[in-house]
Amino acid sequence: MLMTTIGYDKDAADNIIDEFGARPEMLVQILQAFVQRFAWIPEEAIRHLAEKLNRSRADVHGVVSYYHDFRTRPPGKHVVRICQAEACQSMGSRSLTEHASNSLGVDMHDTKNDITLEPVYCLGNCACSPAIMIDNKTYGRVSHERFDQLVGAMRQSD
């Protein structure tokens, strides 16, 4: 189970927990900060949180598994999310999704070649549809050509 410990830094995690005053009601916020720091929530983090916040492991586990953002497997180096909500659908997000999947060689909900491809349901960019998000940055009016350019720029940033 070497995988589960990659990227988790207990000291950094302690700092985050302390920033929130180790308040049990801040669990969702602490997990959100963990995702921003470590990209995912390993089993070790759940044990650690249960201990520090004085909540049962099952309790923390329940919260982690409830929320979509709290991934329990490491994502790829880049996360590409394509909006599937109504406005984006009306402007061709289905065809964009197909194009993304084909050109990246990754299925939806899957990780391959350092890239995780996921759906998202509304980025609030509905007047610039179709919209996507790459690594926490939103892009609008994404034609197939623009998608390829954005992915090219993303790869160059590596």
Binding site: R23, P24, E25, M26, L27, V28, Q29, L31, Q32, G62, V63, Y66, Y67, H68, D69, F70, A85, E86, A87, Q89, S90, M91, V120, Y121, C122, L123, G124, N125, C126, A127, C128, S129, A131, M133, N136, K137, T138, Y139, G140, R141
Partner: protein, 424 residues
């Protein structure tokens, strides 16, 4: 010579189509040419189809250039951009864009106009005037004003805000809360986001007034995690308000204490429901609670809680400033005031249109939206997000009024309007 003021929006839609790159390029070209400029990152005016919409202030008037790209900037400078010079991207005065002037800007009147991260800029445009007036009026009169205005929850349910506030004000408890639901937007809506990015202190002021009215000392904003830029702007605005004495203890010497904590959602689609949001704010899975008890009696941490959506709270300051009669004079029947409609999807001129209730979908789609982006006929229009309805082209003349929509088996919800052409 004083620095020339230029404006480039720092708002999700504008940034998503290149506004940051334009800001960098404007700074670079100005420096290379030895021009002295002040670069202001304003919010969006809501004419989203023109984004990135860049402005320059000449003789106190703001001249707009639309659909600008970073590659245009050097050319615009050569054409005299800093004097408002002629260029293919030049639109004219921002205050004369028909899309914007034909609106009833009650809640969004500062969006685009001000620097969202400057308390001074906010103050110059009536910012915090309403909370000062509220302190003079007293809590009871504030609640009466909100009730008399006929303001209803803009999150979709349309519950009268004044009644909600009165219930919490009448509850006796050692602690009460204001919870702003910034996660209840139906999909395909963006008015909450536009307001929080373009005029975050307006929401802060609305929450201050709510807190003062019901005697709550603590507020929460529950923001969806899909809005990273909104989070950044809101967090900075909250810090600014705290540093300038508009949040915290004894606000401006009034004796009133109030602070706001920003919480992020975590991608649950259920947490837009108000009791699920409360669970999430308590650090738990967002599972819907049974009602009763209602949150106004037992809400966050079991205490009486006002839960309102962003636009509802942001509509309050101007009700206090301009009076409830003026608000109630807008709209039709039991749908008083304005709603920020959002034109999205397959539409030529997508964006935000704040209008009094009673306007029809056809007027919004044709007069503001300019028809479909594809140029094909409208097949259906979705209103009210995923819980709403698809309205066929024959029913587009129904006036936008909560009750009239219920009669045709639809709902206005958040005011999101998504247009589909006949190819889908």
């Amino acid at each position: 010579m004083a620095a020339i003021r230029t404006f480039v929006p720092r708002e999700t839609a504008a940034v998503s189509v290149g506004a940051d790159e334009i800001a960098v390029e404007i700074a670079r070209v100005a420096k290379a040419r030895g021009a002295s400029i002040e670069l202001i990152r304003n919010g969006s005016w809501g004419a989203t189809w023109l984004e990135p919409l860049v402005e320059v202030e000449v003789d106190g008037k703001r001249i707009a250039y639309g659909n600008v790209t970073a590659a245009d900037v050097a050319d615009m400078f050569s054409a005299g951009f800093l004097e408002g010079g002629k260029h293919a991207r030049r639109i004219g005065l921002v205050t004369e864009i028909p899309y914007l002037i034909d609106q009833d800007r009650w809640t969004f009147f500062r969006c685009g106009l001000i620097d969202p991260l400057s308390i001074d800029s906010f103050r110059r445009h009536k910012g915090f005037d309403a909370i000062e007036k509220a302190f003079e009026m007293g809590a009871k009169a504030v609640i009466e004003a909100v009730a008399d205005a006929g303001l209803r929850g803009r999150g979709g349910a349309g519950f009268p805000t004044g009644i909600k506030w009165r219930t919490v004000a009448d509850a006796s408890a050692d602690q009460k809360y204001i919870a702003c639901n910034a996660d209840d937007g139906d999909s395909s809506t963006f008015s909450d986001r536009l307001l929080m990015e373009g005029d975050p202190c307006c929401l802060i002021e609305g929450m201050l007034i709510a807190g003062f009215a019901v005697a709550a000392s603590k507020g929460y904003i529950y923001l969806r995690s899909e809005y990273p830029l909104t989070r950044l702007i809101l967090a900075r605005a909250l810090d600014n308000a705290r540093e300038s004495g508009w949040l915290g203890e004894n606000i401006q010497g009034s004796g009133f204490d109030f602070d706001i904590e920003l919480h992020l959602g975590a991608g649950s689609y259920v947490c837009g429901e108000e009791t699920a949001m409360l669970e999430s704010l308590e650090g738990k899975a967002g599972i819907v609670r049974y009602k009763p008890p209602l949150p106004t009696h037992e809400g966050l941490f079991g205490k009486p809680t006002v839960i309102n959506n962003v636009v509802t709270l942001a509509s309050v300051p101007n009700i206090i400033n301009l009076g409830s009669e003026r608000y109630a004079s807008l709209g039709v029947n039991r749908s008083k005031g304005t709603l920020a409609f959002q034109l999205a999807g397959n539409i030529k001129r997508g964006g935000l249109v704040e209008k009094a209730f009673g306007i029809t979908l056809r007027e919004l789609i044709d007069d503001w939206g300019g028809g479909t982006a594809s140029g094909r006929p409208v097949k259906a229009v979705q209103v009210g997000g995923q819980l709403g309805a698809y309205i066929p082209a024959e029913q587009l003349d129904t006036p936008l009024d909560y009750e009239a929509f219920v009669e045709i088996g639809a709902m206005i919800g958040h005011g999101g309007i998504v247009v589909f052409d006949d190819t889908v």
